[in-house]
Amino acid sequence: MKIDVIERDAVRLVRLDGRLDAATAAEVERRLGEVLESGATRIALDCAALEYISSAGLRVLLSATKRLRQAQGTLVLGGPPPAVLEILEIAGFTGLLQVLGTAEEAVAACAR
């Protein structure tokens, strides 16, 4: 799993490249935690290169969303491939957080 954090228009864009599973969830959670602790409240997750997500990864997204909601912030996902989107839908996450077609749309939605 490769994780890149970029600052874009007062939005923190976090790019996830690889598999978000039981083996990588702790690393992603740590990096997202650093972004949250830096005071960022607008976070866009670029999921275009996210090949796979399991419940371990869903837990990381859920806890980050809860923390951000408490800080009046937003987390928006952009560009998940169809297989990842299907998991988000089955898990009921598409009703909990905003999931958009591309990372750019996610950044724009965060910036509003």
């Binding site: 039981a22 083996a23 371990a56 809860k66 909601r69 089955i90 898990a91 009703g95």
Partner: protein, 147 residues
């Protein structure tokens, strides 16, 4: 067993790992290679890998209270029009089919972080059967291959 060399791959892959998470990554790699070698569509491979990860992780985390080493066995059978996944472990009796479904309509603050894995599997497998025999949990899951 080398699909790359043009020889047919075995239709059955049996893997045994110890009950620790280090073995899980290796298990998933072998399963992924087996499914790719048989030309499984990415969507089906994803479902089988997910089921394998969720169920083996559950067994490693919650199946044993004695702190001892145990063996978990996973078998994949390429049997068009389906792929069969069988799992066997000697952990405490656990029927994943009997676990209550998570409340997916709960608001964010009340959303439980557990129980999602089993929910995903029940939705993605075509059939799931559980039995407890010989002191072992035995689970069989069927996944349909696209025509």
């Amino acid at each position: 067993m080398s699909g790359a060399a043009g020889e047919p791959m075995d239709t059955t892959l049996t893997l045994r790992i110890q009950n620790d998470l280090a073995g899980l990554a290796r298990l998933l790699e072998r399963a992924t290679a087996f499914l790719a070698g048989h030309g499984a569509a990415p969507g089906v491979a994803y479902k089988v890998e997910l089921a394998l990860e969720e169920l083996v992780t559950n067994t490693i985390k919650y199946g044993y209270a004695d702190g001892e080493r145990h063996e978990i066995e996973a078998t994949l059978v390429w049997d068009p029009p389906r792929v069969v996944l069988r799992l066997a472990d000697d952990g405490r009796p656990f029927d994943p089919l009997a676990a209550p479904p998570p409340d997916l309509d709960a608001p964010l603050e009340a959303r439980p972080v557990g129980g999602l894995g089993l929910h995903l599997i029940r939705r993605m497998a075509e059939g799931v059967a559980y039995c407890r025999t010989g002191g072992r949990n035995r689970l069989e899951l069927h996944f349909r291959l696209p025509a």
